[in-house]
Symmetry: C2
Subunit: 484 residues, 2 copies
């Protein structure tokens, strides 16, 4: 398909300002939050309503033009990376909050609505939307659905999939489907869960009904410092074992603490080897009991310092530091690469030890932030893309860290999705039959492979090549850890 | 395929006692809990391990023999109804609890393990498995997965899909897949949620890892009687609006109360028009606060009587009555037909009113039990299959009630699945594009349509015929309620 032909065809169904063709207009769409990968799309379209989305998809299906859907592009795995021969379908103009139902506790919104805007709109009813990715001020609910986003509070409140009730989806053929409903269960196969986290490869979400929760009566956070990462890891296990389900339970290591403190002055202990933030929420009484118990457990696990936030302002600052950890690291390094693996909680100390060995081996610093409660690690590799070969070395180190997660019984992504970033590691995570099942499922939704092709699920050929490469390097069993 | 040929082929891979062929041996498998439908299978196999399951499926795939997987056959929608030309694959001998991990709070079990046996095995660690279908003493976890079973406590703790972490599945080709994992999210499409509730149509589950929860410090239940169903409905709304998430919130109407009381002598108020059971659990303090609040709300909503269970024994009796409601109705009527629809909570009074109109119109009594908290209704139609035409009239009334649920914005199943029972109503619940997406998905797992064919998803032809039939009867808009 030639660019100009496609432009003319699109202009028959869209006004001038809804189709971008000039390079300067396309430039902002060349990458998402995984800026190591960049590609200008052929064209960008900005539909204003569901009908236009349907028409665009029908047209592209007929012409066999690939389509990459996009929210605000804050994704970290390259899920919205454009294709040179493809269209970027921006949902930015579908940004209306359609309905807040304070009795049913739901919000019906368009996909381009920002995550935080939902809670803002619900606040006057004493309600909020629970999943809170660090990018929540900017990221859209449509993108959250594509990647099944989490956040620091997902230990207690779950990921996006646990907080979405219903979707309106446009298929690659331009048909509109209603998926899910307001009841706990829906008849038929669970297309709702299937769609969530499918990275725009099965359909385009055009309307979302989310569950809202009552704002807890009180939330309080304990900060604890440790002179040793292993002790912090033990404390995490003890808190969970005590039957407390914290609203958030986060760990940062020394380099991450220092970077965050320099950036937002949260009052973090910059000499600590590890720090935990443990938030509990609920009724006044419950929070008081749990804070007491958490403080005691931290002390039993040899915390060098235990502090409870003395005010709502201090509580916000404690979290501000954690939520700013990525940009904070961005300040001290020309580039950084954020990984997203999960591990069984009890394997944390050895995974951190092996990560720092790998960091030395590759001569690249690594800062660690960690959703400790649910075993979701975010090692940040610090590098400089201007140094020849450093990006490649970074990607190789990143791949090693993810494969280390798989080796201890974990997975290659906790909440950021596979995108283009972890597509090789899918060959390590899954066997040939499992991957073939994913591909068959994709064909059931998108036989012509037009929706975000090249993301999420590797081709058999890619896996053969990657397995060969690993075998040549002798990596098959070189994670240096015991398999579970 | 001839029966004897298949028998010979199966005996090459299975011992004599693992293949049933005599009519007297096949008889117990002719129906599940939906006993209005009966069909003898060609053969029944009882494999002892995963390897045998794989061999059976490979063989049947090669010979194109349909396979219906079965647990203990307590399902209520005919999901395990055999096919005359097909095999029943009983998972009864895969009944071992493989591992309880008290730290990770998981249990790894085979599919033939009974629901309650998991909690029994976990109890010494202070843990339990939350979903509790009324049949939990008999039903298996494999069947729970097939139907995405709920129970009286699923309002707070969710359905099966919310409590299963990982599955080992054998595909129709006999390949083994690992689906899901111990982390909150898994890379790739969400096959775990897809498999749960898929009624044995996508694969055969051979191993299950479930999440275990700590047994709450305390549980307490309030019983409230009302002289009017609408007042009970209002009380349900008020409790939810007060921010209390009860562990269970159940309603029974007059006929159901009387039947249950006659059967188990739970101490129910037999002169009430409606009764609510509201259970709260958690810490001692929390339970005390919530019980007080619930009692007050019940009184505000004009309850004629409010009782808190005075002992653990009384609490158990209160629940015993509710959990025995189906067999209790079975005692007073030769046959009963249990429906399973969901509705938005606030539409309850009009749905009950319209249901009793329909009950009079069809001259068939209806008793109502209702998971009120999550809007899941279980109307029980009392009939006598020996009266000519009465089963057909019952099915027609049942269909009307389900379509009434759809008309007010609800669904045709809350937790019992579609099976053969609600397959016509799927044509009402979903439009042609939505049903076609289900079929495409089925083909992605089972191209030859061998896994439990004829269940769950209607053929296009069936829907055309059913729509025609409804149009002839003028039923299209005859639910007698306002559409949402």
């Amino acid at each position: 398909m030639k660019k100009n032909e496609l432009y003319v065809a699109l202009r028959r169904i869209l006004p001038e300002d809804a189709v971008l063709i000039e390079e300067e207009d396309l430039r902002p769409y060349e990458c998402d939050g995984l800026s190591a990968y960049r590609q200008l799309p052929m064209l960008v379209v900005l539909p204003r309503d569901v009908d236009e989305v349907q028409q665009i998809l029908k047209l592209c299906h007929g012409l066999e033009v690939p389509v990459v859907a996009r929210g605000t592009g804050t994704g970290l795995s390259g899920g919205a990376l454009p294709l040179a021969e493809g269209l970027v379908l921006s949902l930015a103009r579908l940004n209306r909050i359609l309905d807040i139902d304070p009795v049913g506790r739901t919000a019906r919104v368009q996909p381009g609505v920002r995550n935080l805007a939902i809670s803002d709109a619900a606040r006057s009813h004493g309600l909020y939307y629970a999943p809170d990715p660090s990018s929540q001020i900017a990221c859209t609910i449509g993108g959250n659905i594509a990647e099944n986003s989490g956040g620091v509070h997902c230990l207690k409140y779950g990921l996006t999939v646990h907080n979405v009730l219903k979707l309106e989806v446009v298929t690659v053929e331009g048909e509109r489907l209603t998926i899910g409903g307001n009841a706990l269960d829906s008849p038929g196969y669970d297309l709702l869960a299937l769609m969530i986290g499918s990275e725009g490869m099965l359909g385009v979400v055009v309307e979302v009904t989310v569950r809202l929760l009552p704002v807890p009566e009180r939330a309080q956070v304990v900060l604890a410092a440790f002179d040793d990462v292993e002790k912090a890891g033990t404390a995490v296990g003890e808190i969970i074992a005590a039957g407390i389900i914290p609203a958030g339970l986060e760990m940062m290591d020394g380099p991450a603490i220092k970077a965050a403190e320099d950036f937002v002055h949260a009052g973090y202990p910059t000499d600590a080897a590890a720090m935990l933030l443990c938030e509990v929420d609920g009724s006044n009484q419950e929070v008081s009991e749990h804070i007491l118990a958490v403080r005691e457990l931290m002390q039993t696990c040899s915390a060098t310092e235990v502090r409870t936030a003395r005010s709502e302002g201090e509580r916000q600052r404690f979290w501000q530091g954690r939520k700013s950890a990525f940009p904070a690291v961005g300040r001290i390094s020309p580039d950084y690469y954020c990984m997203d693996g999960t591990i069984p909680r009890h394997r944390l100390p050895e995974v951190l030890k092996r990560t720092s060995e790998l960091s030395r081996e590759y001569d690249l610093p690594v800062a660690n932030v960690f959703h400790a409660g649910d075993g979701n690690m975010h090692p940040l590799i610090l590098y400089d893309a201007n140094n020849p070969g450093e990006l490649e070395r970074t990607e190789e180190l990143g791949g090693k860290i993810l494969e280390l997660c798989v080796a201890v019984g974990g997975t290659i992504t906790g909440e950021h999705g596979v995108g283009v970033e972890k597509i090789n590691q899918m060959c390590v995570q899954f066997d040939a039959d499992e991957l073939e099942q994913f591909r068959a499922l994709k064909r059931a939704f998108d036989g012509r492979q037009l929706l975000n092709p090249g993301k999420g699920v590797p081709t058999p050929r890619r896996c053969s090549e990657y397995r060969l490469l690993r075998a040549e390097k002798g990596d098959g069993n070189a994670q240096g850890v015991d398999r579970p």
